[in-house]
Amino acid sequence: MIRYGWLGLIFIATLILPLVIGEYWIHVAVEILILGLFAVSFNMIFGYMGQLSFGHAAYFGAGAYATGLLMVKTSVPLPICLAVSMITAGGLALVIGYFCVRLTGIYFAILTMAFGQMLYYIIFQWYSFTGGDDGLQGIVPPDWIIQVTAYYYFTLFIVTGALIVMWVISESPFGYTMRAIRDNADRTRFIGINVRKYMLINFVVAGMFAGLAGGLLGPFNRSIAPDLCNWHQSGVPVFMTVIGGPLGFLGPVIGSVIYTFLFAFVTGFTEYWPLTIGLVIIFVVLYMPGGVLGLVKTKFKTIGAKESMDAEA
């Protein structure tokens, strides 16, 4: 109950945020929300299911392009575009996931990365449809949210809704089955569960929410580029989740806050962002393996007490 109290406070804070910060920081806040959603969707595969996907940006990019192309070439309203983004990303995840869930561990990581790169190169080359290297320009949000504060509330509303849905899923029997697959896939087979099928379903759901995040990005940035699909973009949710902590539902969101702030701050005065984030990741991996949540784990319920396991071992 105390936990809900904290969440309530944080939510109220996010509601009044635009009233107290400048426009630049509202932009940053929108980015935190979008990337946070992306990272939480990634964590459905990583923290909950125990597999590292290095190609999650494929669905993020697919969602971005679905909405972007619809908004530039047609007059379909944004909410429908976002739904299309989710379906497109989900469909892509279904095809790619079908092959990927046959593997685990490092092979899963490499195959997801290979597919992500494939999509990147395809979008890159398909100049006539996607604009190729030039990207897609002129994605303008509808008038009622064209002002950044309005877009902020729109994004907040959608992201919060999406997070609640993912939270409910994570606490459902399906969510617990994912944890079971993560902890002991063999055992899970022996209680009657077709592990591959369930992994695929989870992969698709995660892809759909990544697609939703991508769809929100286009109108926000007014333009998108194939880079949204490549393995560097795939690394972003991984970093955020690791920094925030993969064993808590909101860990990736915390990671998004830290990452995005850091990015906005560091790129303000130096070009050596890769160096910075690289050192941060090395530090977190070596000295903070549970991320930020790992440090405060007594206060938050974790989705698997790996720390206690390690203590016992």
Binding site: P173, Y176, D183, R187, T188, F190, I191, G304, A305, A313
Partner: protein, 247 residues
Amino acid sequence: MAILKVEHLNKAFGGLQATNDVNYEMQTGELSGIIGPNGAGKSTFFNLLTGYYKVDSGRISFQGKDITNWSPHRISRLGIARAFQVSNIYPALTAYENIRQAILAQQKRTLNFFTPAHRLAKKETQELLEVTGLSQHADKIAGTLSQGDKKCLELAIALGSKPELLFLDEPTAGMSGEETHETMNLVKRLNQEMDLTILFTEHDMSVVFGYAKRLTVLHQGSIIAEGTPEEVRKNETAQKVYLGEEA
């Protein structure tokens, strides 16, 4: 009709024949044991029956249905459950969550996305916790339980699948003398009260006497003796195999 029928089962790993032309039958309601020294092929046998390994040749039928080479999850859904020799539990979840997972799977509720799991299967999970004596450990992280308790949890998970046929792979391994008898008494009760057909493996002969109605002795992949515990005890071949072990 035999609940389980195994015909001419063979499995080799490289040059090693782990299962050698094994024929085996079980009637509904039996409580039987397979014994043999380490390396006799007991776990391989279970792995073949539960679909974990593919057979080289032979046939496995459950209630008349051919289940040879079926995948583990399909076999499980027919009503066959297994408790592993080395505790195969969910170390990061609580004992309660461990058992609940098996129950939810059996109830076919695992594709439920929107009901909070902690509201479901409460009664059934509590029941199994009690039956296996784990009630006071319900909220402990499974990885932190004692070896004996982990074995009990292992059994509870298997029971959660509401099986008709239960395979127990060395259910008393790692247990003290008292725990061993508690566990085997539980196994006997499950067999008699819940009409559960149970096949267990064991390599300590003294454990099986008084519990199994029928024993089969496995040695280097082949069945070398079969019968009531008394008959087996008197069997010369079986004695040679075990005397060699104990000497």
